[in-house]
C-alpha cells in the first residue's frame, strides 16, 4: 500500500505525517507537490495540517485551487482514500468534498491540547480497528475548528452516520463543556457518503508513540492499512 502526502506552500504537518507512516508504521509513502496532477500509484492521499497559504482569506480558501486538488477529486471519485487532517479538513470543506464550513473557535483563541473523542462510526476504512463508542485521546491544534452547517445538512449528515468522532469527556459523555471550539454537535470528524473521504480536526500523526503522550492516532493509520489489505484480499 502506498500513501501520498500533499505539500502545499505553508503545510507544516507534512513531515510529521511522513514520519508517522514511514518510521512508525513502516509503510511506503511519498510527498506530492501541490502542482502535481497525476496520482497514479497512490492508494491513500493525505492532506496534512498546517497553514496552507498562511491561512489567508479563509483557512484552505486558496489551497483548494491548487492544481493537485483536481487530481484529488478524480482520485476520490474513483474510490481512492482521502484523509484531510486539520488544515487538510478545511481544504476539503472549501473544495466541497465534504458538507459544512469551519468558523473561528468560540473562545477566539488558538487551542493546542489533548482532547477525548468518542468513536461514532467504525464502519469505514479510517476507524475499522476502533470499537463502537470507544473513547480515545488525540491532540488538537487549531484556530478555526468550530464546524458549522445549516440544520438541514446536519440532520442528513447525522442520519447517514456521517459523524466519525465527537469531542467527549473521558467516559464518552457529550456535553457543551467537552466541546473545545463550539462545533455543532461536538463534531470533530466527518466522512463523505461514499465513505472514502474523511476530514478530521484532531491530529492522529501527533499521537503515534507513547513517548509523545498517546498512541490512539496510530490505530487510525493501521485501520487504513488493514482495510486496504482486507479489501485487496477480498477483491471488492
Amino acid at each position: 500500500m502506498k500513501f501520498g502526502i500533499v505539500v502545499f506552500p505553508g503545510s507544516n504537518c507534512d513531515q510529521d505525517c511522513y514520519y508517522a507512516i514511514r518510521d512508525i508504521l513502516g509503510c511506503d509513502v511519498d510527498y506530492i507537490w501541490h502542482t502535481v496532477t497525476d496520482l497514479r500509484g497512490f492508494d491513500c492521499i493525505i492532506l496534512p495540517g498546517g497553514f496552507s497559504y498562511g491561512d489567508y482569506l479563509r483557512t484552505g480558501a486558496i489551497a483548494r485551487f491548487s492544481p493537485v486538488m483536481k487530481a484529488v477529486k478524480d482520485f476520490a471519485d474513483g474510490g481512492g482514500l482521502v484523509l484531510g487532517i486539520c488544515n487538510g479538513f478545511q481544504i476539503l470543506l472549501e473544495a466541497g468534498f465534504l458538507p459544512g464550513a469551519m468558523l473561528r473557535n468560540k473562545g477566539l483563541r488558538f487551542l493546542c491540547k489533548y482532547v477525548h473523542l468518542r468513536v461514532e462510526n467504525n464502519k469505514n476504512p479510517f476507524t475499522c480497528l476502533f470499537e463502537e463508542h470507544e473513547v480515545i485521546r488525540m491532540p488538537i491544534a487549531h484556530f478555526d475548528g468550530n464546524y458549522y452547517a445549516d440544520s438541514r445538512t446536519i440532520e442528513a449528515l447525522e442520519a447517514r452516520g456521517g459523524v466519525v468522532f465527537r469531542y467527549s469527556d473521558e467516559k464518552g459523555g457529550i456535553a457543551p463543556e467537552t466541546n473545545p471550539n463550539g462545533s455543532v454537535g461536538n463534531i470533530a470528524a466527518v466522512i463523505n457518503e461514499a465513505g472514502n473521504v474523511l476530514g478530521m480536526m484532531p491530529h492522529p500523526e501527533r499521537c503515534v508513540e507513547e513517548l509523545l503522550g498517546g498512541e490512539d492516532g496510530r490505530r487510525l493509520f493501521e485501520s487504513i492499512v488493514s482495510w486496504f489489505s482486507g479489501r485487496r484480499g477480498v477483491g471488492s
Binding site: P9, N12, G54, Y56, F143
Partner: protein
C-alpha cells in the same frame, strides 16, 4: 533623507543618534565627510542595538569556551555539539520597544527575526521559547499588551510550524510602561552542514531572498537605542508587520539551498537590513561586497538609497551563493514561490560599495561598519537605593515569626486545595478571582499559600501555552506545564534536549551580582529537574538607559555574577543580546537578565516531569537546609503579602549549588527518580502544591 533637504538646525549626525566624537571618527575612517546615506549606515551599525558599544567591554567577562562549543559568540547564533553527527543551534533576542508600540506585530516580528538567525546557520528551527514581563494584569494597558504579545507569538510561531514549547511570564509594576519580550529559538543541524555567515569567496553572487523592501521600521535599530519618550507614539517609525507565510517559505527555501550545497553563507536581514547583513558577512571574511540598488525589489515607489539601505522589512535573507550556481538558486526560490534577486557580488577590496546603476551612492569599509565602533567607556555609580533596601528586614515586615507551626501548616496546606487558580486576564470567560467564603477560616499560612498560588506570576499558565502549537514536528516529549523545562527528543539519536528561559528582575535590582548568578543557577536547576545535564546558555540582558551611571553599575555586576555562575556550573555563553534604554519617562525597568539554557539528556527514557507520579513515593528536599544565605528579600511571598520588593535577596553559594544539581542529576541518571521540581517563586510551599 531628512537632514539634507530641510535646513536642519541641528547637525545631521545628532539627528541620527550619533555623538560628535563618533562623527569625527567616521570622517577619519573615510578621509572625507560622509554623505547622508553613508551617515545613515554608520548611525544604524553604530547604534547600541547593533554594536553593543556600551556593553561590549563587559561581555568579555563571559566564559565562551567548552568541549561541546563548536561556535561561540560572533556569528548569528551559538552552535553546541549534541553527538558526533548533530549540533544544537540557539540564540535569544529582545523585541521590547516594538512590543510597547504594537504588541501583536512587535512580538510576531521578534519571533520571525530570531528564527532567521537560527536559519542563517543552516539549521532547521525546532523550538521557540519566550520570556515575557508586563505590568499587573488588572491594569487594562498591561492586559492589552499581554494578550497582544501572546497572540502575536502564537499567530507567527504556529503558522511557521515551529513549536513554542516553553518560557515564563512575570508581572510587576516595574514593567508597566516598558514590557519585556525576549524570544529564544533553537535549531538542529548536521555538523558537516553548518553554514557560516561569511562572504568568503570573491566573485560569489549576492542574493536577496524573500520579501520585497519597503519603508518598514527605518531606524528600528536606532529606535531601540533611545528611551521611549512622551511622543514615542508620534515618533513611531513605520511599524514592521510580519508575514509568517513568507517566513515558512524562506525556511524551506534556505534549508534546501544549504542541503544542495549551493550556498557559501547566509545572513538574516535583521536590524539595519541590507546594511548590516552585507557589512557583517564581508567583515567576517575580510572581503567586500558591491550591490546595485536598482536590483533590489521594492514594495514602495520613490525610495531613496538611505531608505533602501536602512529598511527593516521582514522575512528577507542575504544569501551568498556559489559562483556558477545562480540559476539553480533562482530555480529553488521559484519553486517555493519566494522572491529572489541577484543584487551584487563579493569583492576583495573590503569595501561595502552601494551603487544605483553606475552612480556610487555609498562606499564604506565593511569592517568599520561592523566592528570598529568606538567603544564607550561607561561611568558606574552605586545606586543609593541599595543600602536602603538592604536595611529592611523582610521577616519583620511580614510581622510573623516563622516557627514549627508554620512548617506544619504549610505541609497540610497541600491537602486542602491545590489552588489551581488560573492566570487569566479579567474579562476572560474564567472563574472570577474573588476569595471564596470558606477560605476565611483557614489558618493564616494556608491563606498565604493560596494567595501565592493565585498571584499571576505563579499561577497556572495554561491560558498562555495552550495558544501555542507546542506539539508540531513530533518531538515534544515533556509538554509545557508538565516539567521544569521543555524536553524535545532528537529523532534517530536516542537523546533529548532540555530547554528553559529564566530570569529574575527583582533579585538583580536588589543585588545585581547575586541576581545574575541566581538567574543562571535557576535555569540550570530547571534543566537538571528534567534529568538533563546543563551544557550552555544564551542570554538577553534587559537594562535601562546606559548613559546613567547606576545602570552600568548594575550591568557590570549582573554580568560578573552570571560569568561566575557559568564558570562554576560549566555552562559557557554562546551569544545573546543586550537591550538598553528600557525606560519610559525616566521610569526604568528592573535590570533583568534572562538566561536561555540548553541541557542534554543522554537517554530520552530518563527524562523527568515535575509532578508526583505514584502514591507512596518518597518526597525528598535536596539542598542547604541550615538556612545559610536564605532570605525572603525580593521574594514573591513578600510582594504578595506586603506589595514590597525590598530586603537583601538570598545569597547563593555556587559550589553548594553545583553539588545539589550534580546529586539530582546522578539520581535521575541512575533511575532513582520519578520526578523533580525546582523551588523558586513561592518557595517550598508552592513547589509542593504544584
Amino acid at each position: 533623507g531628512r537632514g539634507q533637504e530641510q535646513g536642519q538646525s541641528r547637525p545631521s549626525w545628532w539627528e541620527l543618534g550619533l555623538t560628535e566624537a563618533e562623527y569625527r571618527e567616521i570622517v577619519e575612517i573615510l578621509g572625507r565627510e560622509p554623505n547622508w546615506t553613508e551617515l545613515g549606515m554608520f548611525s544604524v551599525m553604530w547604534s547600541e542595538h547593533c554594536s553593543y558599544k556600551h556593553s561590549r567591554p563587559y561581555l568579555k567577562l563571559f566564559p565562551t569556551q567548552g568541549s561541546r562549543i563548536l561556535i561561540g559568540p560572533g556569528e548569528n547564533a551559538g552552535v553546541i555539539r549534541l553527538d558526533e553527527r548533530w549540533a544544537v543551534v540557539m540564540k535569544c533576542e529582545s523585541h521590547n520597544h516594538p512590543v510597547a508600540v504594537e504588541p501583536y506585530q512587535g512580538a510576531a516580528t521578534g519571533v520571525g527575526g530570531i528564527v532567521r538567525d537560527i536559519l542563517a546557520m543552516g539549521a532547521r528551527p525546532v523550538a521557540i521559547l519566550d520570556s515575557l514581563r508586563f505590568g499587573p494584569p488588572d491594569d487594562p494597558r498591561s492586559r492589552f499588551l499581554f494578550q497582544g504579545v501572546v497572540s502575536g507569538i502564537a499567530g507567527y510561531g504556529n503558522c511557521i510550524g515551529v513549536p513554542t514549547v516553553g518560557g515564563e511570564v512575570y508581572f510587576d509594576e516595574a514593567y508597566a510602561s516598558n514590557p519585556l519580550c525576549n524570544v529564544m529559538c533553537v535549531g538542529l543541524v548536521e555538523i558537516d552542514r553548518i553554514a557560516r555567515a561569511r562572504a568568503s569567496e570573491v566573485g560569489s553572487p549576492v542574493f536577496l531572498v524573500g520579501a520585497s523592501t519597503g519603508r518598514d521600521g527605518i531606524h528600528g535599530a536606532t529606535f531601540a537605542s533611545q528611551e521611549l519618550g512622551e511622543d514615542s507614539e508620534a515618533s513611531r517609525p513605520n511599524v514592521q508587520v510580519g508575514d509568517p507565510f513568507m517566513e515558512k517559505l524562506a525556511i524551506e527555501t534556505c534549508l534546501e539551498l544549504v542541503e544542495r550545497g549551493y550556498v557559501i553563507g547566509i545572513q538574516d536581514m535583521g536590524a539595519a537590513g541590507i546594511t548590516s547583513s552585507c557589512a557583517e558577512t564581508a567583515a567576517r571574511a575580510g572581503t567586500g561586497i558591491e550591490i546595485d540598488l536598482d536590483k533590489v525589489p521594492l514594495r514602495e515607489s520613490g525610495m531613496t538609497p538611505y531608505e533602501i539601505m536602512l529598511s527593516e522589512s521582514q522575512e528577507r535573507m542575504l544569501v551568498i551563493g556559489k559562483s556558477g550556481r545562480e540559476n539553480e538558486i533562482a530555480e529553488v526560490c521559484r519553486r517555493w514561490g519566494i522572491g529572489c534577486a541577484l543584487i551584487g557580488r563579493v569583492t576583495d577590496d573590503g569595501m561595502l560599495t552601494v551603487k544605483r546603476g553606475e552612480i556610487i551612492e555609498a562606499r564604506v569599509p565593511a569592517k568599520a561598519l561592523a566592528e570598529q565602533v568606538p567603544v564607550v567607556l561607561s561611568r558606574e555609580s552605586r545606586p543609593s537605593y541599595i543600602d536602603e533596601e538592604w536595611s529592611r528586614d523582610p521577616v519583620s515586615l511580614l510581622g510573623a515569626k516563622p516557627g514549627p507551626s508554620l512548617l506544619a501548616e504549610l505541609a497540610s496546606a497541600g491537602k486542602t486545595r491545590s489552588g489551581k487558580a488560573r492566570c487569566e486576564p479579567e474579562g476572560e470567560p474564567g472563574e472570577p478571582e474573588k476569595e471564596p467564603e470558606e477560605e476565611k477560616d483557614l489558618p493564616r499560612f494556608s491563606r498565604d499559600l493560596l494567595k501565592c498560588l493565585s498571584s499571576p506570576t505563579i499561577a497556572d499558565k495554561a491560558w498562555v501555552y495552550s495558544q501555542y502549537d507546542h506539539m508540531v514536528q513530533n518531538n515534544t516529549a515533556v509538554l509545557p506545564g508538565a516539567g521544569d523545562a521543555a524536553v524535545l527528543r532528537v529523532k534517530g539519536t536516542g537523546k533529548a534536549i532540555a530547554l528553559t528561559m529564566d530570569g529574575n528582575g527583582r533579585y538583580a535590582y536588589l543585588d545585581p551580582e547575586m541576581g545574575g548568578a541566581i538567574a543562571v543557577a535557576e535555569a540550570a536547576r530547571n534543566v537538571v529537574s528534567t534529568g538533563a545535564e546543563p551544557v550552555a546558555i544564551t542570554n538577553c540582558l534587559n537594562f535601562p538607559n546606559p548613559e546613567k551611571g547606576e545602570t552600568m553599575w548594575q550591568f557590570s555586576r549582573v554580568v560578573r555574577g552570571m560569568a561566575l555562575a557559568c564558570e562554576i556550573l560549566g555552562t559557557p555563553v554562546t551569544g545573546g543580546n543586550v537591550s538598553f534604554y528600557n525606560e519610559t519617562l525616566g521610569k526604568p525597568v528592573y535590570p533583568t537578565p534572562v538566561v536561555g539554557m540548553l541541557g542534554i539528556i543522554h537517554d530520552v527514557k530518563q527524562r523527568l516531569s515535575s509532578g508526583f507520579v505514584r502514591e507512596g513515593d518518597i518526597v525528598a528536599l535536596i539542598g542547604p537546609l541550615d538556612g545559610r544565605g536564605a532570605s525572603l528579600g525580593g521574594s514573591e511571598y513578600l510582594k504578595v503579602k506586603t506589595g514590597l520588593v525590598t530586603g537583601k535577596p538570598p545569597q547563593i553559594d555556587l559550589d553548594v549549588e553545583k553539588r545539589v544539581q550534580r546529586t539530582c542529576l546522578r539520581a535521575a541518571q541512575s533511575g532513582l527518580l520519578h520526578s523533580a521540581h525546582d523551588c523558586s517563586e513561592g518557595g517550598l510551599a508552592v513547589t509542593l502544591a504544584e
